[in-house]
Symmetry: C2
Subunit: 205 residues, 2 copies
């Protein structure tokens, strides 16, 4: 009896469905889109992903993903302020901060966050490397930019306590909590409103 | 002045963000995931997508996407009932029906739906090919399985009227509307409840 499923298409769909944020339905839609309407996009994806696989590596200084030379473009840019390090969980967070154009210092990408349940400890996040950079690069401030989630808070707390112990003089900051810009107050969740209330600022006239 | 963005990673992220259902944020997360944690998945994706690009084509009989021989596995399966054709919008819909194991006939995949605003007319959906199949394959029933959305309804209406005109004896059906299985009544939207009420069935004791 012949197979009534197409093995290659099924494998391809399964592979797409393993990507973060995708499931079997969205993967199936993507495969149809790529092989019928956007073969050009499928071809460029194959090309870029193959090249990226060949040359992508983690920056030895900040851990971020890069396909440029040894150091990533941010670490090798002499115009960036070298005395401030922003600690983020993953390259996507770094990309979000870069897109805001509100920060001109350097980064340290944890490539994860503390998770006692999955057994991710401070040592797994390579905090030793961050400590070494603070010592050798005469860092004046560390901005902790982890999310305000349970895991993000634990990670921030752990990093802060290590930094306080080793470098009591270092300025350690975190991104402000508050109302998201462009969102109605009535749709903002209670913990965010309560944080925004606690950190309310005097209006500058 | 050196570039502070990584061109290849940016290109790759942009390409992923063009896939249906993805945006810049999810694309950025996917790229990090593929190049750091799941290089094995990235490599298999490149392999399967390249092979699929080489051999994927539309089945000349039902239009669905296939990487098998000339005809797709469903059309070439002699065990399928040849006198029923189920009309769907896209391969993903066909996959959903196949997964339900509730249908053993053949298919006709429209590869789109009527959309007067984007200028998609009945002719663009190749209805002529469906009409020819009904004539030559002695089809007894056509099951229209378009979605219950404005565009799906328009498409179903158009196909029904063409079929009625050309083949007054043909049985034309549509998938039943009603309560989704496994969803609480209180979370079901009003048009669905009203359709389920109108089509209510006598309880078989």
């Amino acid at each position: 009896m012949p197979e009534t499923t197409d093995e290659l298409l099924e494998t391809l769909t399964e592979q797409f469905s393993e990507l973060p944020g995708l499931g079997p339905k969205s993967a199936s839609r993507i495969v149809g889109h790529l092989l019928v309407e956007r073969r050009d996009l499928a071809e460029s994806l194959v090309r870029s992903l193959s090249s990226a696989l060949k040359c992508a590596h983690q920056c030895p200084k900040c851990n971020t993903l890069t396909t440029a030379g040894e150091l990533c473009p941010v670490c090798s840019d002499p115009a960036r302020a070298a005395d401030v390090i922003c600690v983020v969980e993953q390259p996507a967070d770094q990309a979000a901060i870069e897109a805001s154009v509100a920060y001109r210092g350097l980064y340290f990408v944890l490539m994860g966050r503390i998770n006692p349940i999955r057994g991710v400890s401070p040592a797994d996040l390579g905090i030793g490397k961050l400590l070494a950079r603070i010592r050798t690069e005469q860092v004046r401030e560390v901005v902790i930019a982890t999310s305000y989630t349970a895991e993000g808070e634990t990670t921030a707390h752990m990093i802060t306590s290590v930094l306080r112990r080793q470098y009591p003089q270092l300025r350690v900051t975190r991104l402000a909590r508050g109302l998201p810009v462009g969102v109605e107050l009535e749709y903002t969740d209670a913990p965010t409103i309560s944080a925004a209330m606690a950190d309310r600022e005097a209006v500058k006239s």
